[in-house]
């Protein structure tokens, strides 16, 4: 992925910053500019909110055939996680054996290296999750 495209999203990827709609109190992650519930009424009313990064596994998979960027990590666990604030996201679960992962398992976020643009390229960082 091109460097500017990755860099633009770093605040959210580094610090789990989402947005909260001041009109209906719904929290979103990744950040949104329009609330899908309030539409027009939400314009200008979405404010940044830091998520705690704790939640549970909704579903998961162990990836055995992955993109080049993740080759060295194979097999790795991907999951959809519901954070306690109610938002869901897709992330890797690390420091967890393939046979340990379960739906409903409690997890918390951790700041890790995600990948790099080739051998001499920029290193990307962001969230992964570990057992809570």
């Amino acid at each position: 992925m091109a460097i500017p495209r990755f860099w633009r999203e770093t605040p959210s990827r580094y610090n789990l910053i989402g947005t909260k709609c001041k009109n209906c109190d719904t929290i979103y992650f990744p950040p949104r500019l329009i609330c899908p519930k309030c539409h027009r009424k939400s314009i200008g009313k979405l404010e940044p909110i830091k998520l705690k990064g704790e939640g549970e596994v909704i579903t998961y998979t162990v990836i055995h055939d992955g993109p080049k960027q993740f080759e060295m990590q194979i097999p790795y666990i991907m999951a959809i996680i519901e954070l306690d604030e109610g938002v869901r996201l897709t992330a890797q679960i690390v420091e967890c054996e393939s046979n340990e992962i379960k739906i409903g398992m409690r997890v918390k976020s951790t700041f890790r290296k995600l990948g790099e643009d080739g051998k001499a390229g920029v290193i990307h960082y962001g969230y992964k999750f570990i057992k809570a």
Partner: protein, 388 residues
């Protein structure tokens, strides 16, 4: 709104067609459809083409005029339009062609779908496929296209007790159908054991749970039903089209075991065609992964939510059973040249409704349906077809 008919169909063989270029396969299917329709070519008012990612796969954009040019239509200066909706590009191109004829803007329209996926390596092709998901919030963290579907499968097993074996049975059935289709990429049957013991791609999905990477093209000729008999002895009516959308990322859908886009698209198409799910005799549904077919038969209303696995196990969706699903072999065995899929599905339904499906013919087929999905379900397109 005018009634619209399909008067011609054409299709290349699907698979790794290394000896033919993108433009050659596009021309082959297009010319076959024109010949099948019994038109000279001069009647054609417009061309639509579904294609997901020629820019990434073959470094060529602007492919609609390219195909129009090489099927010999450059002198006619007709409008040629490419439609993109990831793997639903073909189905969506058909919808737009249908609406153009139905509205009266155009009379005779050629609509094709084409993709050349094997000029790049496997790893790269899979990365391009994953671009139909959200690059910034799914793929960047390591989620592959198979991985996202695997997470749907895992949740479906958790919520409804769907078994690994039931998933595998989708692949066994579709290979059985594909073995009867001379255009299919895989023309051999596989056993349950082969699916279960195949190398893992993204658990619980193994290699045989995933549709292949393919080259291929398919094409249709459309015209108003009123004048269809002028060209064709057996025109097939397009009774309706429906399209639905949803959140781009899988994690934003509260119920990841349901594709709302499919439900909406089917509801619209069935209502307009004045049909119920039980009226459908034969359906081509989007089985990019075995779990996708289970979701599709549930969300299209053929079986109750959660019972797709059981229904597959009971043989409800086998050839000449309650509802014949993916008689072509589906994406799994017929092949998955992404942009061509939606058109190839329509070609299969036309052959079935004409009674030209040979060894895989559904008896007394009168009403057919196609279901084409983009990404993990952010787009779904449904068409209903009927004998005249």
């Amino acid at each position: 709104m005018r009634e619209v008919a399909i008067i011609g169909v054409g299709e290349t063989r699907f698979g790794e067609v290394w000896d033919k270029s993108f433009r050659e396969i596009g021309i082959e299917a297009g010319l076959a459809a024109i010949e099948n329709a019994g038109i000279t070519g001069k009647e054609i008012d417009a061309l639509y083409i579904g294609n997901m990612s020629a820019g990434k796969f073959i470094d060529q954009e602007h492919i609609a005029p390219l195909v129009a040019d090489y099927v010999g239509l450059a002198n006619a200066n007709i409008p040629a339009t490419r439609i993109e909706a990831a793997d639903a590009s073909g189905g969506l191109a058909l919808s737009h062609a249908y609406m153009a004829v139905s509205s009266g803007v155009h009379d005779v329209v050629v609509v094709g779908g084409a993709e050349k996926m094997t000029d790049v390596g496997d790893v790269q092709a899979k990365e391009i496929l994953a671009m139909s998901a959200d690059q910034e919030w799914e793929s960047v963290f390591g989620a592959t296209f198979a991985g996202l579907h695997a997470m749907i499968a895992r949740r479906h097993m958790h919520e409804y007790g769907t078994t690994r074996e039931q998933l595998a049975m989708v692949a066994v059935k579709n290979h059985k159908h594909g073995a009867l289709n001379p255009k299919a990429q895989f023309r051999r049957e596989i056993t349950l054991d082969m699916v279960l013991k195949a190398p893992m791609v993204a658990s619980p999905l193994g290699i045989f749970d995933c549709a292949p990477l393919s080259d291929g093209s398919a094409s249709l000729v459309l015209c108003p039903l009123k004048i269809a008999k002028k060209y064709s002895d057996n025109p097939i009516k397009i009774a309706s089209c429906g399209q639905g959308g949803d959140y781009m990322a899988l994690h934003d859908r509260r119920d990841i075991c349901t594709m709302n886009a499919t439900i909406i698209a089917a509801r619209k198409a069935l209502k307009y065609a004045k049909k119920a799910p039980k009226d459908i005799d034969v359906a081509e549904v989007h089985d990019s992964f075995t779990i996708s077919e289970i979701l599709a038969i549930e969300d299209l209303g053929f079986v109750k939510k959660g019972e797709g696995g059981k229904a597959t196990e009971d043989g409800v969706t086998s050839l000449n059973s309650d509802i014949s699903v993916n008689t072509s072999g589906g994406l799994k065995a017929h092949g998955q040249p992404v942009g061509a899929v939606g058109i190839a599905q329509a070609v299969e339904i036309v052959l079935q409704l004409r009674g030209e499906a040979d060894k895989r013919q559904v008896k007394n087929a009168e009403v057919g349906l196609t279901h084409n999905v983009g990404g993990t379900g952010a787009t779904a397109v449904v068409h209903i077809f009927e004998v005249v």
